[in-house]
């Protein structure tokens, strides 16, 4: 399709209707595992669902341009509700499922939502709690009636009931649905996406239908999508990535969207579906890598032997391909053997048996990690984008990967480096500003004389000679020490997290100090296994984290990483934290990015101790438990100093 067609079929619902006409009941649109079986729904089924819900919303009084919040696990009703909202000409506002009531209140109130979709009792209860504070919300629609049998509140209405209302309206006005879809325009607001916000309150990025369509159209030119593709939808639907990778290509290219049975079965369900494209945030790739390494360690000797034997061959082939060199016949044969014995079974175990393109985004994934997965035949690449760019920006294309870079610009998108080193992204996929926030909009969005929208990413980077974008760090996070040495905390963290024993790290340093230090949170599972193997007794996380043997273990990892760093930017001291970083305590965002300002504040005692002469510090931290209660943990945390290895 060229750009002129995009001007006619310019909204997601219009594309959806194109697919319905194309496939009808001859092709599966959506699959969901229920009662242990993958249940299938054709495009015609999907159409009936979307139409009835859309008209039901209309009969509840939803107007073009209204906002509708939606919260719930990924499932077919969520997708249908999403499409129905868009078909009615309204805007969908996603809320993360683990949001606490005050967060939900902020999003629902700030977005001026008039209706709310809330999956089940859990989410409905949260809305009932904040009901008084969101007076604009007229009705809450739930789609899982489990536990809701005795709720008689007229504020609540079931999904089925909305469909009934819709069917009634459809009988009275049979053309209404098609008219509603036809009235939509490409520049209509499609999605209000509240960014996880590493700083301050969440901001609602306004994305139009054309933002998404321009993005997917351009991406498909380099990484084509087909209607036979299976996509598995498990990343939060409130997050932009799921709209760019599942919802939009579903409507545009007709790929099949598969929903897991429950959040706990995702891993198993991925393996059953074997998707063609997979997107994991950087953290998940890291977890996966740690998992593979642990499982191999626990595996039989023969598995361990093959893994040890063939991984170097995998690395060699990956490196040759990376350098664009030819793989010799002997190596090719060995790799074929390795693929047969190790790599293919491994890919299958991870559910990546059919993956054509694997991508990562969010936090930066270390080059080691990219190389690791590519060594066993997974075409893993980095994507650099953000909510504000409809999750499209630069990307590693299959045959053009550079470990140090974040890829080349996708055709619709331009990259510009501002004078202060900030990366700007421009094009049709760039958002239209933050909802009800002029100040923030003018800080991050500019329009040039050609009418191109530019998003100021706040990231530092540069373009190299091959046209690849090199990402350094957040502009504000590039840090200069007192001795004028520079370092990038993210880089150090990415490298350290390659150790299976380290779950999270924050590297610390500023213009008043001369050395880099690190707060390290151990991976309880892997370190626990290590302790069991070495007969180290421990009780809790706190206890385990302070064992001398564990310090020694982590010390080795830190030393290894230090060797790859310039001497001035090496980690000189570290502590092992008595707890994990926790999103519930606002230490990380919901997508598990560190909130550095908050962490620096919270662990200020520990950090200043590392820059002093002491070798331990006692901490008493307030911990908020999952059920909302608070408790206090008191313990001594040791400070580990690395001996200076003076090279002559």
């Amino acid at each position: 399709m060229d750009d002129s067609t995009l001007k006619v079929i310019d909204t997601l619902p219009k594309h959806f209707m194109e697919r319905v006409r194309e496939y009808g009941d001859r092709k599966v649109a959506v699959r969901q595992k229920e009662f242990g079986i993958w249940q299938e729904f054709t495009w015609k089924d999907s159409f009936h669902q979307v139409r009835d819900i859309c008209l039901g919303l209309a009969s509840l009084g939803l107007q073009r341009g209204d906002k509708v919040s939606i919260i719930g696990d990924n499932d077919r009703q969520h997708l249908w509700a999403d499409l129905a909202i868009l078909a009615a000409g309204a805007t969908a506002v996603g809320i993360f499922t683990d949001a606490i009531p005050s967060e939900m209140e902020y999003v629902a109130a700030h977005s001026e939502s008039v209706l709310v979709f809330a999956k089940d009792q859990e989410q409905v209860d949260k809305f009932l709690e904040i009901r008084e504070k969101i007076p604009l919300v007229k009705t809450v629609i739930y789609w899982d009636s489990h536990g809701m049998w005795n709720y008689n509140d007229p504020w609540l209405i079931s999904y089925d009931r909305v469909q009934e209302l819709g069917r009634k309206l459809g009988e009275e006005q049979p053309e209404l649905f098609h008219n509603l879809v036809a009235e939509g325009k490409g520049d209509d607001l499609c999605l209000l996406c509240y960014t996880s916000g590493t700083t301050g309150l969440p901001k609602g990025a306004m994305l139009s239908h054309l933002n998404f369509l321009a993005g997917i159209e351009a991406t498909a030119k380099v990484e084509p999508r087909f209607d036979t593709d299976n996509q598995i939808s498990f990343a939060p639907l409130a997050w932009i990535a799921e709209h760019t990778l599942s919802v939009t290509p579903h409507c545009r290219f007709g790929l099949i969207v598969n929903f897991p049975e429950s959040p706990e079965t995702v891993q198993a369900n991925i393996r059953e579906i074997a998707p063609d494209l997979i997107f994991f945030p950087a953290r998940l790739w890291e977890n996966l890598c740690a998992m593979v390494q642990i499982r191999i360690k626990d595996s039989t000797w023969i598995n361990r032997m093959f893994y040890k034997l063939f991984l170097p061959i995998g690395y060699k082939v990956a490196d040759l391909q990376y350098e664009g060199k030819r793989v010799g016949p002997l190596l090719a044969f060995l790799y074929w053997l390795g693929d047969l014995l190790v790599f293919r079974p491994l890919r299958d175990q991870l559910g990546l048996g059919r993956v054509r393109t694997a991508i990562t985004a969010g936090a930066a994934l270390s080059p080691d990690m990219l190389r690791y997965f590519r060594a066993f035949g997974i075409n893993l690449g980095q994507v650099f984008s953000s909510t504000e760019t409809a999750a499209v920006g630069t990307q590693h294309f299959s045959d053009d990967v550079k470990y140090a870079s974040v890829g080349k610009p996708v055709p619709c998108c331009q990259v510009k480096i501002a004078d202060d080193g900030e990366i700007w992204l421009g094009g049709d996929n760039i958002f239209h500003g933050y909802f009800r926030d002029r100040d923030k909009t003018s800080q991050s969005l500019s329009i040039d004389e050609n009418g191109t929208r530019w998003f100021h990413t706040g990231d530092a980077g540069y373009m190299d000679d091959d046209g690849h974008l090199i990402y350094l760090d957040r502009l504000k996070d590039m840090i200069e020490l007192a001795n004028k040495e520079q370092f990038s905390p993210q880089f150090i963290e990415g490298r350290l997290k390659f150790s299976p024993y380290i779950r999270d790290v924050m590297a610390v340093g500023n213009s008043e100090v001369d050395i880099v230090t690190a707060l390290i949170s151990i991976d309880f599972e892997s370190v626990g296994r290590f302790a069991e193997k070495n007969r180290i007794t421990y009780t809790t996380f706190v206890d385990l984290s302070q064992k001398p043997e564990v310090y020694q273990l982590i010390l080795e990892a830190v030393k290894g990483v230090n060797e790859t760093l310039p001497p001035g930017g090496r980690v000189k001291k570290f502590v092992l934290l008595h707890k994990e970083f926790d999103a519930d305590e606002a230490e990380m965002t919901r997508t598990r990015k560190l909130r550095r300002g908050f962490l620096t504040d919270r662990y200020s005692e520990m950090i200043s101790a590392m820059y002093g002469d002491v070798d331990s510090v006692s901490v008493s931290a307030t911990v908020r438990y999952q059920d909302g209660r608070e408790g206090v943990v008191e313990t001594d945390v040791r400070i580990m100093t690395l001996e200076e290895t003076v090279s002559a």
């Binding site: 242990g36 536990g147 049998w149 429950s262």
Partner: protein, 258 residues
Amino acid sequence: MAENNGQLIVEDVYLSFGGTLALVDVSFNVHKGEILAIIGPNGAGKTSLLNCINNFYKPDKGSITFNGTNITKLPPYKIAKLGIARTFQNLALYTGLSTVDNLMAARHLHMHQSMWGSMLYWGPAQREEVENRKIVEEIIDFLEIEHIRKATVGALPYGLRKRVELGRALAMEPELLLLDEPMTGMNVEEKEDMARFILDIHELQDTTIVLIEHDMGLVMDISERVVVLDFGRKIAEGSPKEVRNNPNVIQAYLGQEG
């Protein structure tokens, strides 16, 4: 008539082990569709009472009537067939089988194919298997244990095993569900989940539930009536509020003042 007084009528039950009196003249009724809690200090005879109801123990004296049928002398499997299912304090699952297989085993009660028919598998036996599997899958969905469907029960953590055991009891589609300490050994979150499941079972299927539980907060929250035992005797019965203010109960739990 029996229906007016209660679905389950326990009348003047005595039980002794050698010289020890475990239950002394215990009488109470369970009404259809209620949640009744039996509480009492350790060794008060709570589990013995449940064991009498499904006849693991034979009461020395007294009678137990369920839906108008005297079940005092019936063997446990016949009592199960009448619609009384239970869970056990210390779990009673096939630890070597998967969750699904444990639940399917509980469906045995509702399967009618002969041994020969089952060995052939095709035809009626297969249809029966599929029908029962559907019911089992609904229970799996209800209790949110999809992720452990194929897991060996013996390898599961305690909280989940308790949930599987509840599933096993539900698979019998009971009219009366006896739960023996369904929440022991669980953390707060697991307990809250379990409480929610119990309330859901009660709401959805109008199942009568008799439960023994030590967590007073939970008992008071979810039960409609409470029976208190102490040294084998019933010392109080009534709504949670009445029981909480009953001087006998306070004394039994806190001991004699002085």
